[in-house]
């Protein structure tokens, strides 16, 4: 074996010797691109919806670019990216396939709609039928993009921590929070933060409270689910290998710093401050997705005899 492959093999053997084998396929190596992809398309969908609502070209453009990058990250996650077109085949049962369609719809819709805003003299007008079709496609794609990620994790039966039915709602909320943050950045870029940002700040606070409540419910659900693997994942996040990401990345950077800045304690609200709020919020969202995906551990394969559960401890393969 080459040294890389040898290392991976040794890691696998070591993982098999543990009670709760951490999932590495979707968080390490090329798997990191899946986390990145889910993060990017979530923010992209949110930014696009905010851009449409406020008719903000920068947010729309950011949504389009981030979605494109998110799509590339998804491709980088595949071991056989050249076969990506086959992923359109199983929408009846597969959320990955549905997500692929969502991203495709979004990109088609945004490619149709954006020229009407940016170059209306050259292309069609923004109130034309063609532009409306683009808007419908892009909104449908955005909604699918926001929702599909949570369902992908919920369908992963081997990872008890992800099986929560709240996961899709949490991911939708995170996408909206990311969209609000992206719109704040856009306003800051345009120097309109103070005048146009207060509504967004209120929305950001509302969706952040929603995320916190959903997160607490999810943690509580995992702790009371009776699944030891889910409890182990929660422990990993709150007091284990991912605690640093949780306390520094999610709580400090993603929550306390934006709230601190928002309260105007350091300085009066300004475009720079709005940009900082947007950036820290988005960074917190990334750490949130990173830690919850990384926290996934496989439920141990154990022997059950009728209703008599026999707890066992795995030693080696």
């Amino acid at each position: 074996m080459t040294s890389t492959n040898s290392g991976r093999y040794e890691q696998l053997i070591k993982d098999y010797q543990t009670e709760y084998r951490p999932q590495r396929e979707w968080s390490e190596g090329r798997g990191f691109f899946l986390i990145l992809g889910h993060f990017l398309v979530g923010v992209a969908a949110g930014a696009w919806l905010f851009g449409l609502f406020f008719q903000d070209k920068i947010s729309l453009l950011a949504g389009f670019v981030l979605a494109g990058l998110g799509g590339l990250a998804h491709l980088a996650n595949l071991a056989r990216p050249e076969r990506f077109i086959l992923m359109m085949l199983r929408t009846a049962t597969s959320w990955v396939s549905r997500g692929f369609w969502g991203l495709t719809l979004f990109l088609i819709g945004s490619v149709i709609y954006l020229p009407s805003l940016m170059f209306s003299d050259t292309f069609w007008q923004s109130d034309s039928v063609i532009a409306d079709v683009g808007v419908v496609f892009s909104i449908a794609g955005s909604i699918i993009m926001m929702a599909y990620m949570g369902f992908v994790y919920t369908a992963s039966k081997a990872i008890a921590f992800w099986n929560s039915t709240l996961h899709p709602v949490l991911y939708i909320s995170y996408a909206l929070r990311g969209g609000a943050a992206a719109h704040l950045l856009s306003l800051a870029f345009q120097g309109e933060a103070v005048s146009g940002g207060s509504d967004i700040l209120i929305f950001w606070i509302a969706v952040t409270v929603t995320v916190i409540v959903l997160w607490i419910f999810e943690i509580q659900g995992a702790l009371t689910s009776g699944e030891e693997a889910a409890v182990h994942s929660v422990h990993d996040i709150l007091a284990g290998r991912l605690a640093l990401y949780f306390y520094v990345g999610i709580l400090l950077i993603g929550l306390f710093v934006p709230v601190f800045l928002m309260a105007g304690i350091i300085a009066p609200l300004s475009p720079t401050l709005f940009a900082l709020i947007g950036l820290t919020s988005v960074a917190g969202d990334f750490f949130m997705k990173f830690s919850s995906i990384k926290a996934g551990v496989f439920s141990p394969v154990r022997l059950y005899s009728g209703n008599n559960r026999r707890a066992t401890r795995r030693r080696k393969i």
């Binding site: 074996m1 080459t2 890389t4 492959n5 040898s6 991976r8 093999y9 696998l12 053997i13 098999y16 084998r21 999932q23 396929e25 979707w26 798997g31 996650n77 595949l78 071991a79 056989r80 990216p81 076969r83 990506f84 086959l86 992923m87 085949l89 199983r90 049962t93 597969s94 959320w95 990955v96 396939s97 692929f100 992908v152 369908a155 992963s156 039966k157 081997a158 990872i159 992800w162 996934g296 496989f298 439920s299 394969v301 154990r302 022997l303 059950y304 005899s305 009728g306 026999r310 707890a311 066992t312 401890r313 795995r314 030693r315 080696k316 393969i317």
Partner: protein, 202 residues
């Protein structure tokens, strides 16, 4: 017809014969184990004991790995219920690995061999030709052998005859009889996958 397997935990001595014969039959690369044997400790001194739990793909009637596959690469053979993978369709997204409650799917990532710098042996070279890289692999009950009237390699090579293979749809088959008479049970029925691999209590 619905192929299934019964593993008698009273007979299993944890010799890893199934694991090795599977590797020999399928030529799986390092890190890929279609047939694993979990060695486990139960209880506490002075009543502690070691048990063995052979695990393989359970060829479920409701396989979550097939549902989540975005390309249709994971599928169920309609004529015998075996869950299989069409390597030509697999994109290597690993969704199925996250969905399998038995952790019985493996990504054949890069060409690998067991002997480091010595390079691949002729046997391994032949094996590499049989398997695509960048795709997920799994047990298919040695379907080629079964279609030729043979048992899967792990069944045929078990020295203690702890493994039985047969048609679960036939109430008179040996596997059906063993499950009925010796209270055979599947792994993790709470996952709702309706496995076709059963265990007889030790």
């Amino acid at each position: 017809m619905r192929w299934g397997m019964v593993i008698d935990l009273k007979r299993c001595i944890g010799c890893y014969g199934c694991q090795l014969s599977c590797k020999a039959e399928n030529g799986t690369p390092p890190g890929v184990f279609f047939a694993r044997v979990h060695k486990q400790e139960e209880g506490q001194y002075p009543t502690a004991q070691t048990t063995f739990l052979p695990v393989l793909c359970n060829h479920c009637d409701d396989p979550p790995c097939v549902d989540v596959c975005p390309t249709g690469a994971s599928f169920v053979w309609e004529d015998d219920g075996i869950v299989d993978i069409d390597a030509d369709k697999c994109v290597g997204c690993r969704s199925c690995m996250m969905a399998c409650p038995y952790s019985q799917r493996f990504l054949n990532d890069d060409p690998q061999n067991y002997y480091g710098d010595q390079g691949a042996t002729p046997y391994e070279q032949a094996r590499v030709e049989r398997h695509q890289t960048g795709v997920v692999m799994k047990c298919n009950f040695c379907r080629d052998r079964v279609r030729n009237g043979q048992d899967p390699a792990c069944v045929e090579n078990c020295p203690t005859i702890a493994r039985y293979f047969g048609d679960l749809d036939n109430p008179n088959s040996e596997v059906s009889r063993l499950i009925r008479e010796r209270s055979g049970f599947p792994l993790h029925p709470e996952k709702g996958t309706n496995p076709n691999v059963y265990y007889l209590p030790a």
